[in-house]
């Protein structure tokens, strides 16, 4: 699986992942409780775009980020113009777009492994309850490893069904589930054998 992280050396790249996540959460909260006026919304949009530009996304990357939001803008904005009014349309749509751009900036500049460290740190206090702070990070990696395995199982099952030439409809997915559960049992054993879980 390809991470959405893009290598670089911008300010945002150098800020620790935990702070960025915290800042984003605060922004999301602030933006959704303060009802910015239209000019404020436009300033916010400009600021968000600048932040994204500052991550080294370049004009092209930034434009692409906007382009991906085009349907949201058209439909959400359109609906609000029709059902409410133009001011509401600009303010609401603007807020959503600005948040999404800021989130993209954080995602682009944060290596997949860094939030894993944040995850570990977040879970450290839970140690007193007998939770191993490594477990969530391990679970994340485990899932990443399993996605291609499941895709492979899916292909096996698909081949086998086409070869038998039977039409099963929904129940075609049963063997996939069976194989997936077997795989889980085997992985469970491996986790234990490698001393990573009880």
């Amino acid at each position: 699986m390809i991470s959405l992280y893009r290598a670089g050396d911008s300010i945002l790249h150098r800020i620790p992942a935990g702070w960025k996540l915290l800042a984003l959460a605060i922004c999301a909260l602030a933006i959704s409780i303060t009802r910015l006026p239209t000019t404020g919304t436009i300033v916010l949009l400009g600021a968000a775009t600048t932040v994204l530009l500052s991550t080294g996304a370049g004009l092209r990357g930034t434009a692409l980020a906007w382009w991906r939001l085009r349907w949201l803008i058209v439909v959400l904005g359109g609906a609000l113009v029709v059902f409410v009014d133009v001011t509401a349309a600009v303010q609401s749509t603007g807020r959503v777009v600005a948040m999404l751009l800021l989130a993209e900036a954080v995602t682009r500049t944060t290596r997949t492994g860094d939030p894993l460290d944040v995850l570990r740190r977040l879970f450290r206090p839970l140690r007193v309850f007998g939770v191993d702070p490594e477990t969530p990070a391990l679970a994340v990696s485990l899932t990443i490893t399993m996605v291609p395995v499941l895709a492979g199982l899916l292909e096996q099952v698909r081949d086998a069904q086409r070869a038998r030439g039977v039409r099963l409809g929904v129940r075609a997915a049963v063997p996939l589930l069976v194989l997936a559960m077997k795989h889980a049992d085997d992985v469970g054993d491996a986790l234990t054998a490698r001393g990573l879980a009880r």
Binding site: A160, Q161, A163, V166, P175, V178
Partner: protein, 221 residues
Amino acid sequence: MAFEDVSYVVDDAPILRGVTTRLTASRTAVIGANGSGKSTFARMINGLRQPTSGSVRVLGLDPAADAARVRSRVGFVFTNPEAQILMPTPAEDLALSLGSLPRAMRTLRVARILEQYGLAGRGDQPVSELSGGQRQLLALAAVLCTDPRLVVADEPTTLLDLRNARRIADLLLTLPVPVVIVTHDLELAGRCDAAVLFDGGRVVEMGEPPAVIETYRRISA
């Protein structure tokens, strides 16, 4: 069955490169290293994979164009019976293969097949409670009961013990129709009438099994 300059490329990676071969023996073994293209070759026989270039003819048909017809005539046995068994119980799985028969007859045939393959009394047990060998037998039964005119098996004995492996091998090798068996078990390959050796997506040798196996041993050394 004839392959004519068949290539298969996935994401710019050539998996088969210009395979030209004609299988005429009644029992053909396909051997070769991991990743040499054996399974891909086998899957082309019934159109599960389609050549990027070149042509395949099986039983006088083109599996790419006539997939449904070819598949109804070619039985395919996979390595992992779990992927192949589609229903929760053996009886239901066999009934699925016999879909075209009227219900009463189907029940009778299912019972007969279960007995024939040593699965009598297990027809209504969850498939997950069968042993590895029993599962492979069921998968094979579900394929053979449709009376295919050609059988392709991709490593059908790898997970099996001596007795089960022999049983499956005996079943496959005494079929009244031609069989193609992909295998790493050179003893099994030796019991066929012809062998094909794959290496790096090419057929590098074809002929009497002892000679081909010898070459395989040599290039693997």
